[in-house]
């Protein structure tokens, strides 16, 4: 499901409610049933055998069962409860040194073998125009293995009534604290993926993710002004335990932030009060400021200005027609001294971080996952690469970041978790702010836009606080900052220590044609950037 279809389901797009078009709806009880492993093995073997017989030199097959549950509410009303399931098989092959892919929703050995033969036929048709033969980094078959997201409570097993009750309490809290409107949703994901390849792997994975997006709006009918404040939680690679609201996971301050446990009622209460305050908050004076960026905000800046430019397929030009290319070209990397950021900046990639959206045991081409450096002491040191790209950057093995968002889509290089290491010296958020003369403290993600080579960007937020002479003076509005990626990361002057390290994330990282989404997390602690250009986004109509 992409972002637009989610908006349709959630009813926050065009104001309508519709079933998702990428999945079929099912009864809630089915969401807890496991997939049948013996059938998966039979289907996988049928596909691999048919592909080899048709002339494939390599084949992999993914038998996928993708489950979503949505509980959608507004004010004191349940708007929709939808359970979706999408089941099918995707077969990817190499024939005549060329990729081919076909998929089917028919779960019979005959249909799956037919898909495999289709994939080989497509590879052969395209091989005529192929100028770059596929070269795969080796992977050792792992035999039959399995992996599961380490959840404590399976969100799919929690009764619908409990979910509805929680969202009603959330919405009531918002309405009691000054909200004119409130939308809140549970968006729960379970990917059951069975991967097999001609390398000799049979990998069964059970992946869980949860998210509770919320938007609170305050309307001043007299002035016609309206302002919204979105929830400060993030999607997580966790189970229902994320919604326990454990006090020990709260970060106090100008507003409460949450680490690995979310108190949604508290956040709704604060959101309503802050949305009201936004209606009368003074407008920012444009200029150059020191920015203190909370992890709920900085995660998206990392995503856009580090995660994307270091995707090797973008760097090489494979995404030129859609997501774009990258300023971080191979010649810059080869110098081993390209200063991506200041010497404080250490950025790493991983597919293993606990609670993260990207964490899996094996990627979608059967590679065991790991952690690696992208930027070390400010210098660009590596990219994100999969099996058919590893040789280009002199790597002996894939980084293990290949992913497809459905059985029906072909897997390709996707962004792993990309995170900023916390500072090594002790520094709290309060100490950081105490040192700022003229700055803005930004919490939450707002609008975000960046060019197709990832130079020029502009970001907004949810909450903006003016800092004068080391003190927060109050909420301000209409803030967006513009910068250039390299200039911005070189302006990084302080990073809080690991006590403030938190994960943010998104369900909707988009790339590829046909467009696919991927869920990815970004960790960081509160970070300071100096002398950044801030614009005022207020305009008047008519």
């Amino acid at each position: 499901m992409d972002r637009r279809n989610f908006l349709k389901v959630a009813g926050v797009g065009a104001g309508t409610i519709a079933l998702p078009v990428t999945g079929r709806a099912i009864a809630a009880d089915e969401l807890t049933l496991p997939a049948d492993a013996s059938l998966q093995r039979v289907l996988a073997d049928a596909a691999l055998a048919a592909a080899k017989q048709a002339g494939a030199s390599y084949a992999d097959v993914r038998v996928g069962r993708y489950l979503n549950q949505f509980v959608v509410t507004r004010e004191l009303k349940v708007q929709n409860i939808v359970n979706t399931e999408s089941v099918g098989v995707g077969v990817r092959v190499i024939a005549k040194d060329t990729w081919g892919f076909a998929a089917t929703s028919s779960l019979t050995p005959k249909a799956v073998a037919e898909a495999a033969r289709n994939a080989v036929a497509i590879a052969k048709a395209n091989s005529v125009y192929q100028t770059e033969p596929v070269k795969l980094a080796p992977v050792k078959g792992v035999g039959e293995v399995s992996w599961r997201t380490p959840i404590k409570k399976n969100a799919m097993e929690i009764p619908i009534a409990d979910k509805v009750d929680m969202l009603m309490a959330v919405n009531e809290a918002a309405l009691n604290n000054g909200a004119s409107f409130v939308n809140s949703t549970f968006y729960l994901v379970n990917e059951q993926k069975y991967f097999a390849s001609t390398d000799g792997s049979y990998i069964d994975q059970d992946i869980h993710r949860v998210w509770a997006p919320m938007s609170v709006t305050a309307v001043d009918k007299e002035t016609g002004k309206f302002r919204s404040r979105n929830g400060l939680s993030d999607p997580m690679g966790m189970g229902w335990e994320y919604f326990d609201g454990d006090d020990s996971e709260k970060i106090p301050g100008v507003t409460t932030r949450y680490r690995y446990s979310y108190d949604m009622v508290e956040d709704a209460t604060l959101a309503a009060q802050q949305a009201q305050a936004k209606l009368t908050a003074p407008s920012v004076k444009p200029g150059r400021y020191s920015l203190v960026l909370d992890p709920t905000h900085l995660m998206l800046t990392i995503h856009e200005s580090v995660g994307h430019p270091l995707e090797l397929d973008r760097v090489l030009g494979y995404e030129a027609n859609y997501a774009g290319t990258s300023f971080a070209t191979l010649d810059k990397w080869r110098t081993k001294e390209f200063e991506y950021g200041s010497s404080l900046v250490n950025l790493f990639a991983d597919k293993v971080q606990p609670h993260s959206l990207g964490a899996v045991g094996y990627d979608d081409e059967g590679v065991k996952t790991k952690k690696w450096d992208l930027v070390r002491d400010g210098v660009l040191v590596n990219y994100q690469a999969i099996r058919d790209q590893a040789h280009i950057i002199d790597e002996k093995e894939s980084h293990g970041c290949c992913y497809a968002d459905s059985w029906s889509t072909v897997q390709f290089q996707r962004m792993p978790n990309v995170s900023l290491e916390p500072g090594t010296e002790k520094l709290s958020v309060d100490e950081m702010i105490a040192d700022v003369e003229d700055g803005i403290y930004i919490v939450g993600r707002g609008s975000y836009s960046i060019d197709q080579q990832r130079y020029n960007f502009q970001f907004g937020g949810q909450l903006f606080y003016e800092i004068k002479d080391g003190e927060i003076t109050g909420q301000i509005e209409d803030v967006a900052y513009q910068s250039n990626t390299q200039e911005f990361w070189n302006a990084c002057s302080a990073i809080c220590d690991e006590r403030d390290y938190r994960l943010g994330g998104s369900f909707f990282d988009g790339k590829g044609q046909p467009s696919q989404v991927s869920a990815v997390s970004h960790g960081c602690a509160t970070t300071r950037f100096d002398d950044v250009n801030v614009i005022n986004t207020a305009r008047k109509l008519g």
Partner: protein, 442 residues
Amino acid sequence: MTILNKIAARASLEKVIALSIADGCEANLEGSNIGNIRYARNSVSTAGVTEDISLVVQCNFGKKVGTATINEFDDASLAKVVARAEETARLAPESPEFMPVLGPQKYAESDAFVTATAAIKPQYRAKAAAASIGPARENGATAAGFLNDSASFSAMMNSEGLFAYHTSTNVNFTVTVRSNDGTGSGWASSDDNDVRRLDVAQTSGVALQKALQSREAKALEPGKYTVILEPNAAAQLIGRMFFSFGARQADEGRSFLAKKGGGTRLGEQVFDERVSVYGDPLDKRVPVGTWNQSGEPVGKLDIIKNGVVENLFYSRYWADFKGVDSVPQPNNLIMVGGDKTQEELIKNTERGILVSRLWYIRALDPQTQLYTGLTRDGTFYIEDGEIKFPVKNFRFNESPVIMLNNLEELGKGERVSVFGFPVVMPSMKVREFTFSSLSDAV
């Protein structure tokens, strides 16, 4: 295989409806065959075909609603899916905004299915890629493109006797050509129901020409400029505005179409009087289905006429609540254009910027419809009626509402695709378009 004809679709749905004992039952059946090819670096990268079909059954007891589905069609499976939907409905809390299923409706026939498109084979896609890659390579450039074709059907039936059926095809082609020195980039697209009207080589040629012309761009100071937006650039910005044409958002005071003190701007002059936008499923340029997911007929609808807001979209629930007729959102958009070609618009321009494409557009403020984004793949300086030189890309911060009040001239309409919806959009000349900074991106 997954494209059921009308008789087969009706027969499957009749079985489903007959099995339900709920107060209301509605079933939707959809299937599609999709094929695509993707190329980059002057070489084919991925290609594939996907087929899928699904049956969704929604049952309600009063305002308690449940949904279930299945992709097997034997009698036992159909009985199972209906029983599951009914069970979920019994367990669900009441949905206060649920509307009972509609009675039978009359729908116009829209001719959106083209057999030639449904019959596209892998060889066609491979040849299309070759027709794009060859000229790029011969001209010192690199092509990356994507061709996606689909044939699909959708059908619905409910317990009040409503039946609807629609088939459609689509083929969409986009291509980016970059000069091998990395200083020039061009993009072009074509979108149609009928593959016979698609000319991949011609579309790709436009992108190649832009790539070569946009090399070694000069930097201009950011600021307010007269711009000529090509149809695709205009559509990407203007198309977003229609997400805010919901009556409920406006009535609730959280839309740019809400009025101070309450009420909406329905019937008011909000745009330049040359601005007219409507939806029409039977328009031959952009044929689409004539019903929506609730089974409501979707006909021709004026949204903006001569700058006046003629209609806001009313869901069935909101229409009932407000005591008015529902107004379904159109499945396509057509903005009325002028007679002039883009070249003629350029000829009449003393100083301005030609914008081929806008990219990464994001909302800044729903109150003013302010968006930010960047130009991309061919941005040129115009002086004394001629394109003088390519310019570096800009970031813009602009509102389509302000833009459609600063209209200078409209060109001819062209079919483009916005979020997968077919749109006819003219090229347009607009004054005082706000560019806020420069980008080094090519």
